[in-house]
C-alpha cells in the first residue's frame, strides 16, 4: 500500500501529545490559581450620610373679643 510508518515516529508523536497536554494543563491551572489568589479584590464602600435639620410647621390663629350685640335689651 504505502510507506511503513516507523515505531520511532509513533513514539515521538505520542510523547509530543503527552508533553503538549501536560504543559497546557499546567498553564491553565496555574492561571486559574493566579486569578483565584488575587489579593487585590478590594471592595471599598463609602457611605456618606447627609442629615437635614428637623422641619417645622406652625398653626396659628387670632381670636378677637366677641363684639357685644347691639340692640340688646
Amino acid at each position: 500500500m504505502g510507506e511503513e510508518v516507523s515505531n520511532k515516529l509513533i513514539v515521538i508523536l505520542a510523547l509530543l501529545v503527552v508533553i503538549v497536554v501536560a504543559v497546557s494543563t499546567w498553564l491553565t491551572v496555574s492561571n486559574l490559581n493566579a486569578i483565584d489568589s488575587q489579593d487585590t479584590k478590594t471592595v471599598t464602600i463609602t457611605e456618606r450620610v447627609i442629615e437635614g435639620p428637623p422641619s417645622g410647621g406652625r398653626v396659628a390663629l387670632a381670636i378677637l373679643p366677641q363684639p357685644k350685640e347691639t340692640g340688646e335689651q
Binding site: L16, R48, E51, G56
Partner: protein, 219 residues
C-alpha cells in the same frame, strides 16, 4: 494490516496534537496566560482585578413644603353661644365664624433618598393653645397618594384617619408618625390636617403652635 494500524495511529495522534494545541491557545488567550510565559504576569502594570470603589451618599431630608396653617383673625359672631369648629379640610361654620379663614394643612415630604422614621412633636395641647371651656385642637394625618408609609407598626400603615384631640402636647422624642416614610416620587408626601373648636370663652389673643418633624434613616 499492521501498516494500516500504524498510519491510523499517526493520524489520530496528529489530530490529538492539534486539538490539544488549539485548546491550550484558546484557553490561555481567555486568561491572558501568555503573559505568564513572558514574565509579565504579576509584574508592574499588572491589571488589578476586582477592585471596586463604591461611594453611596445617603440624604436624610424631610421638609414641610406647606408649613403653615394660619386660620387668620376672627371672632365668634354675635349671638352665637356654641364653639366655632373649623378644619383645614374645609370644615367651616358659616353662621358663627366671623373672619377666620380655612387654610391648608401641612404637607410633609421626604426629599431624601432613603426611607426614614418620622417622629412628630408639638408644643401645645388644646387647653394651652386655645384655652376657654372645652376647647378642641385635633389633628390627623394621611397619605396623599401611593404607598407612603410602611413598617412593622400596623397603625402606621394606612394613616391616622380620624382626628385625635390634643389633650396634651406631644413631647420629645415625639410620636412615631411613620415607621418607614417612602422617598420615591409619588409616594413621599404626608398630609397633616387640623381641626379646631373655639369656645366662646377662649381668650381673645393670638394663638400659635409649632410642630416639628424629625427624621432618622430607616432603610
Amino acid at each position: 494490516m499492521e501498516e494500516t494500524t500504524s498510519r491510523t495511529l499517526v493520524v489520530i495522534m496528529v489530530a490529538t496534537l492539534f486539538i490539544a494545541l488549539f485548546g491550550s491557545v484558546a484557553t490561555l488567550n481567555k486568561f491572558g496566560g501568555f503573559r505568564g510565559l513572558t514574565g509579565a504576569w504579576g509584574g508592574p502594570g499588572t491589571p488589578v482585578y476586582g477592585a471596586v470603589n463604591l461611594s453611596i451618599q445617603t440624604s436624610i431630608q424631610i421638609n414641610f413644603t406647606d408649613d403653615s396653617a394660619n386660620f387668620g383673625t376672627g371672632y365668634i359672631c354675635p349671638g352665637c353661644t356654641e364653639p366655632v369648629t373649623l378644619s383645614t379640610e374645609g370644615l367651616n361654620d358659616t353662621i358663627c365664624n366671623c373672619g377666620w379663614n380655612i387654610p391648608n394643612g401641612f404637607l410633609l415630604e421626604n426629599q431624601g433618598n432613603v426611607y426614614v422614621r418620622v417622629n412628630l412633636t408639638n408644643l401645645r395641647s388644646s387647653d394651652t393653645f386655645l384655652g376657654g371651656t372645652n376647647p378642641g385642637y385635633a389633628w390627623k394625618w394621611g397619605n396623599t397618594s401611593g404607598v407612603v408609609c410602611t413598617g412593622t407598626n400596623p397603625q402606621n400603615l394606612t394613616g391616622n384617619i380620624t382626628y385625635s384631640n390634643l389633650t396634651a402636647a406631644i413631647a420629645d422624642p415625639g410620636l412615631v408618625l411613620c415607621e418607614k416614610f417612602n422617598f420615591t416620587s409619588g409616594n413621599n408626601r404626608i398630609n397633616i390636617s387640623f381641626k379646631i373648636s373655639i369656645p366662646t370663652t377662649a381668650m381673645g389673643t393670638g394663638k400659635n403652635d409649632t410642630w416639628t418633624a424629625k427624621a432618622v434613616g430607616n432603610p
